[in-house]
Amino acid sequence: MPQLFDATDPLNPLWHEEHLDFYVPVDNTEESFTTCQKRFEDLADLHRQGRLVLVSGERGCGKTALINRCAYWLHGRLRADGLGVEVVDLTQEASDSATVRERLSKVSEALVDKLDLLALLRGDRLYEKRTDPDGTYRNLPGYLAPDQWLIVLLPTVELVEELRYYDARAPQRTVFFAEAPSAVGVQHVSGRTLHLRVDAFEHEHASLFAADRLGRMPAGAVPPLAPEALDEFIQGDRKTTIREMQWLLFGVYETLRVQNSRPDEVTWEHLGRHFVREARRLRGERP
């Protein structure tokens, strides 16, 4: 995986365009992306009121990667219309353990800070009141150039109250992207919000994912994954996630890569040994 700090980091074409090529149509990630594209074909509504795009799902199922992909596409879509557009990443701007009030305030403050740094604000008054989220979102369009659009990546939202706030307050010419755990009560947001779901997947999609990753290697460079290996790993109603698959395959093949002798194929035992090895590492023992 090119340009990733950690093997399990989500894809991010906003930073690395080549990541676009690494999306695998597991679960309904592809359908979700298509839904997003369709929703934003017509931008007329957004001139009147902004929009919240909420992606919910289990941890590691590709929520962040999907948001990054959608934001990248929307950015291009707006640019293609000759509009000014800025992607503002606020995903790290609020702590999980802060109150909703504190989080809203922090995000609003960080948004205005970044817009100010980008010299996108016309006038200083918004900056002075940037810790007041109500005032910020109400007045934001007036402080931006008329053809300036914003794509705002929000921190993870886990409380309905916060979700409803962004649902109701997205300013015109602004699209909020937020991810939420699958358990959050998304039924409480309005129909205006675009809700995309991603989830864990079964054996078939796991194989698809593995084939994609291994297919990128030169022929014969690495041993193939035995057909039954994933059968043993994903049994019964057990499911897996993109993150788990990425961690497992990367770990197993990285270990094999530095070994002197390589097996003809990677079996479920190789996968099992990787888990045991990592468990030892967690216990502070030699892997």
Partner: protein, 752 residues
């Protein structure tokens, strides 16, 4: 504490200097005498441990109630059970010891939460254990990950780290944990809060909430809205939750709640709700894997309703040490030797210590040292002396103070301390409560340890003297239990069972006894007339008002000053004053000027000076008037008033000044009457008249002696400011002699 005390001679005293057990005692010097109570409690613990091992999934919870008097070894027993269990489990035991506060279950929970806060790891470990259980099921679903299950279950793999590192489905697993916690604790809010403990950043908010504070906003947003200490019910429920949580799984948890009777006594006063919740808590503990030890005084079980008592599981009553057990203990401590103790001294020791282990050990410590110092064996006489030293005088003052507090608190503040019913020294009662007429009343006697025949005889004499001279009800308060053989004699002499002083229950018991005694006396002396039906209410109101006034005086710091009057002195003053007064109808309320009108000028001058000095309260009135004045004079007066008017000494001095004025006026009146008669004798006063004058002067001197005239200084300081000079009281010291001298000088032949 079981530390040995080095002897001054260098040898080590084999007995601990303090026989107060600490639950943490685990040293090799701790010795447990295998009494019947210890053996029975140990059997209950063994049953618990066996059941837990045999069927870890089945609730093995036990409740063990341990009751006994102070020093009978309840805490020692609890500590023994913990040591015993820890030994059987190779140290793999969680336990906690609480001293119940004399308050509500809310306070008990706070004490529990405080301890828990110091041992966050216990809770954290249990939550992670539950999480590991869930994760183990998850990894066992695949052959690839199955080998991890064992490490998760034995605790060597942290489930949080596993989920994070392996990229497992955290949301779903945490939701499963929340569900499991709800099943375990039967409490949704706890399930939410405890789940949050596994997520970074919420620990402090959750632990603040567990400590009993209202939930922080970040918790309220997540559906945790209740405060655990809001009511006794929520506090008990919270304790139950932790019992379920900590006692979950195959590892045992022992919780000791010592002195529980303190909470139950308080709870009992407020109705049945708290007791119902307590019952529920016992049920929860029994349904968990917790071994709950509740310990308290013998009335712990008596204070519980029958159904709650039934839930209190096994009940162990601490029994006194027998002579054989004590002998065994001494031999153990002294390397299988009995000396310097003897068979006889051990018998005496057990008898006088009533077999109470704490006393036995304290006495052994003291007696061993004495025997060592003297180079003699321990004799029965030494035992008696040691008992007197340890349990005789010490605490008497404290008990007297507590009796006083009860009397005042119940509105009986007309009590007389240290009251002699006759001239005989053995007629002294420690407190006398006048009730009804004819000097009838109730007496409270306080007695030290009754070790010998002479001790009993003293109490018998005191009780009989009281009954002989007054119609009275008596109560004997004893600091030590009365030996069985002396009880019938004490009951017979006093008229009722002696009241043994026990620190926590004494006030309540004494209140009940006093109420009963005074009630009986009031029945014997009903009031006459129309007020009879309301008399009890009036008496109660009066007592209540007295109690209120007393509280006020306490608040203003005037208690001591108001209490200094001695009833005997006052009685004498009244008696003597009545002699100075003329018979009713002779003279009615003459003014000072009228009184002095017929007297010779020098005598008038002496009296006027005395009355002017005694009229300090009049000058106080002037000062108070001045305080309302404008300008500097008013400001100075206000300062003086503010500085001293609340001083109890000023209050007392005002009373003394009023009495003194009355005394001087009465003296002047008697003198004037004497002079009116004496001047009619042509040759001067007769011998009888001279003697009468002498008598009048003596009466004045005697009454003056009784009055605490020195207290007038406080009033003088108020009026004149502090000073060291002679006070007004100095004028009265020779008043009578000057009056006599001037009177006789004014009469023919009188100066001889």
């Amino acid at each position: 504490m079981d530390a040995h005390d080095p002897d001054p001679n260098g040898a080590v005293n084999p007995y601990p200097s303090s026989a107060v057990a600490q639950i943490a005692d685990a040293g090799s010097t701790v010795m447990t005498i295998p009494t019947a109570a210890i053996r029975r409690a140990t059997a209950v613990m063994d049953g618990y441990l066996t059941a837990l091992r045999a069927a870890p999934q089945e609730p093995a919870g036990r409740v063990l109630a341990v009751v006994g008097d102070y020093g009978t070894g309840k805490t020692h027993l609890a500590a023994h059970l913990i040591r015993h269990a820890a030994e059987r489990l190779d140290g793999d035991l969680q336990w906690m010891h609480l001293n119940a506060p004399p308050d509500t279950f809310v306070s008990l929970y706070r004490a529990f939460a405080d301890k828990l806060a110091d041992r966050r790891d216990v809770v954290d470990r249990q939550v992670r254990r539950l999480y590991a259980d869930i994760l183990a099921v998850e990894v066992r679903r695949s052959r690839v990950t199955e080998p991890l299950a064992e490490s998760l279950l034995d605790g060597s793999l942290d489930p949080v780290a596993v989920v994070d590192t392996f990229g497992m489905m955290e949301h779903r697993l945490l939701e499963q944990l929340r569900q499991r916690l709800r099943e375990v604790t039967d409490n949704t809010e706890f399930a939410r809060a405890l789940t949050l403990l596994l997520r970074g950043g919420f620990e402090d908010a959750v632990w603040e909430w567990i400590a009993g504070r209202p939930p922080a906003e970040v918790l309220r947003e997540r559906g945790i809205t209740g405060t655990l200490t809001a009511t006794e019910a929520t506090a008990l429920q919270a304790m139950g939750v932790f019992a379920m949580l900590i006692g979950y799984g195959p590892n045992p948890f022992v919780l000791v709640i010592d002195e529980l009777d303190q909470v139950l006594t308080a709870a009992g006063r407020r109705g049945t709700e708290a007791l119902d919740k307590f019952k529920e808590m016992l049920h929860v503990f029994a349904a968990s894997h917790t071994f709950l030890i509740i310990a308290g005084l013998p009335d712990l079980l008596d204070s519980l309703p029958r159904d709650v008592r039934a839930r209190s599981g096994e009940q162990v009553r601490m029994t006194p040490l027998t002579t054989a057990e004590t002998r065994g203990y001494i031999r153990y401590r002294q390397g299988d030797r009995l000396a310097p103790f003897t068979e006889e001294s051990v018998v005496q020791l057990v008898e006088l210590a009533h077999g109470v282990p704490r006393r036995v050990i304290s006495l052994c410590h003291r007696l061993w040292r004495q025997a060592r110092d003297r180079g003699t064996p321990v004799t029965p006489a030494m035992v008696r002396a040691a008992v007197r030293e340890l349990y005789g005088g010490a605490g008497t003052q404290h008990v007297l103070a507590e009796i006083r507090q009860v009397l005042v608190g119940t509105g009986h503040d007309a009590y007389v301390p240290d009251y002699f019913l006759t001239d005989r020294p053995d007629s002294r009662v420690d407190y006398w409560l006048p009730v009804g007429r004819d000097d009838a009343g109730c007496g409270i006697l306080l007695a030290g340890p009754m070790l010998e025949e002479s001790d009993v005889a003293t109490v018998e004499n005191r009780a009989r003297a009281a009954h002989a001279h007054r119609d009275c009800e008596l109560l004997l308060v004893v600091l030590e239990p009365v030996p069985e053989q002396f009880l019938p004699r004490i009951r017979e002499a006093v008229g009722r069972e002696p009241l043994l002083y026990r620190p926590r229950s004494f006030a309540d018991q004494l209140t009940a006894e006093v109420k009963a005694m005074t009630g009986r006396m009031e029945e014997r002396y009903p009031q006459d007339g129309l007020l009879v039906p309301v008399a009890p209410h009036l008496a109660r109101l009066d007592r209540r008002q007295s109690a209120t006034q007393h509280m006020l005086s306490l608040l203003t710091g005037a208690l001591d000053d108001l209490r200094v009057r001695n009833d005997q002195q006052l009685a004498a003053i009244h008696r003597d004053l009545s002699q100075l007064r003329p018979p009713p109808g002779a003279v009615t309320e003459p003014g000072a000027d009228d009184l002095l009108a017929g007297l010779p000028a020098p005598v008038v001058e002496v009296f006027e000076r005395a009355l002017a000095a005694g009229h300090l309260h009049t000058r106080v009135g002037t000062l108070l008037t001045q305080a309302f004045a404008e300008g500097e004079a008013g400001r100075g007066a206000r300062q003086a008033v503010r500085a001293r008017i609340r001083d109890g000494r000023v209050h007392a001095a005002t009373g003394v000044a009023a009495l003194l004025t009355e005394l001087v006026e009465a003296f002047a009146q008697a003198v004037a009457e004497w002079y009116a008669l004496a001047r009619q004798q042509p040759g001067g006063p007769t011998v009888a008249q001279r003697e009468r004058l002498e008598e009048i002067c003596q009466i004045f001197d005697v009454v003056h002696e009784y009055l605490p005239v020195f207290r007038l200084r406080a009033l003088r300081d108020l009026v004149d400011g502090p000073g060291d000079g002679a006070g007004p009281e100095d004028l009265f010291g020779d008043l009578s002699s000057r009056v006599r001298q001037e009177l006789l000088a004014a009469l023919p032949g009188g100066a001889t």
